[in-house]
Symmetry: C2
Subunit: 265 residues, 2 copies
């Protein structure tokens, strides 16, 4: 048996701890927008780490848009909560209503993507979709290969919109949804479902091939409604039950510093 210990060692680098610590200061309002952070040297001594570590932490916060810095002046808390990156908190997603919201957003994107795809698809797109469908027919329902083909089909639809951002967003949202479903692990499989799911996909494909915008939207909407049911979401306004994720303890290294950092939070 292969134990699964991966994904556990969620990188407890020092820079991560420092970044989290500063992040908390900002989130809890002890550092207000526009405020200047202490100098790198000062942060290094207060945290008891090297200036290098502080710099990596600041680089990270800067890339997240939380702070900005200018050579010769200092680092400052960003004015507006205007993050340059969009991130979805894994823990939040465990809440049923959050999951339903994300599923709703995915639905909106998928349906409109289907509409655009029906308008703009090229022959190459149609071939790619067809290949993905073949892959789904060949693989057993729920297998890895099947899932890959499923994802592939949706990806090709997104691609056919000729809008790369549509693809990016869709993939991002779908991935989060998929993760959450896998974590919950409460999906029952059956041969019936295989047939039904495949049929839904084929209707989407046909509509897109025929350039039937409304049909593609409708077919995609049906597919997502079906998927919602299969995942345990009552359609409409009802809530889903997602299993909470177990807390994972992180291995202890640099315990002295960590304690110092954690302590002052």
């Amino acid at each position: 048996m292969t134990l699964k210990l991966d994904k556990v060692n969620r990188g407890p680098h020092l820079s991560t701890l420092v970044a989290s610590s500063i992040s908390r200061e900002i989130a809890q309002g002890r550092l207000k927008p526009g405020d200047q952070l202490p100098t790198e040297a000062a942060l290094a001594t207060t945290f008891g780490v090297s200036r290098n570590v502080v710099r990596e932490a600041i680089a990270r916060l800067r890339s997240e848009g939380r702070i900005w810095s200018q050579q010769g002046r200092g680092a400052f808390v960003a004015e507006s909560n205007n993050p340059t990156v969009l991130t979805i908190d894994y823990e939040t997603l465990q809440r049923a209503d959050s999951f339903r919201n994300l599923f709703e957003l995915r639905g909106i994107l998928e349906v409109q993507a289907a509409a655009l795809a029906a308008k703009r698809r090229s022959d190459a797109d149609l071939k790619a979709m067809g290949d993905a469908l073949s892959g789904m027919r060949a693989a057993p329902y729920g297998s890895v290969a099947w899932l890959r083909s499923d994802l592939e089909f949706h990806r090709t639809v997104a691609e056919a919109t000729r809008n790369s951002y549509m693809g990016q967003f869709l993939v991002f949202v779908s991935e989060r949804v998929r993760e959450s479903i896998l974590a919950a692990g409460n999906q029952q499989k059956s041969d019936d479902m295989a047939r039904i799911t495949l049929g839904e996909h084929e209707r989407i494909f046909a509509a897109i091939r025929n350039g039937d915008v409304e049909g593609a939207q409708a077919a995609m909407r049906d597919h997502l409604a079906g998927a919602a049911l299969r995942v345990g979401l009552h359609d409409g306004e009802a809530a889903a039950e997602a299993a909470p994720v177990p807390e994972v303890p992180s291995p202890v290294r640099h315990s002295r510093l960590r304690k110092a950092i954690r302590g002052q939070a």
Copy 2:
């Protein structure tokens, strides 16, 4: 006259350039999931920067979930194309077709958000929207206060969807669009536009207040079509002549290195 020279110094830190470069390698498939990256020392020499810079770049990519690293072994491209964050490259957005794509995506989200808002808005939501509209009436067109009120109105609409992810995504996309418009700076203002824009907002507000889903969608669609024109995008399928943003010559520092990095993209 107040010249606008801010926002130009978009942080071209070396670590940013290195991170972008590696990111591209991954996105374009030259580095496949599971692949091991060159060692930090190797990257440092190939990029012609210090190992410290490389480390900051890697720290950033790691925090974005694109790669993971283990002490003593090396850094590896993350298995699933499972970036935990979604980012929009500022440079890419300068291309007219990219901007049009993002604008299209924004439109989709706004229109559907308007629909959901018409279904789910509460009295508090309506009051907030009304306040935002008042703010727009009071402020001169194009002023900072006006822009703030405009943003505020759209934010309240997103809020009324009762779907926090919708709000997050919408704000994120809108911010990028707004930044790009400001950077281009090719918007002409007139009193007519003030009246027209305000009227568009009021129609959206009215439809949402009346719970008119289709009307809200239509009004929002009109508003966005208008906004597209005002920004210089031809509506529909026509290509946009978004004035290509003037290349901002970043003050020359480390020009040799930059060239090397840019060159190998």
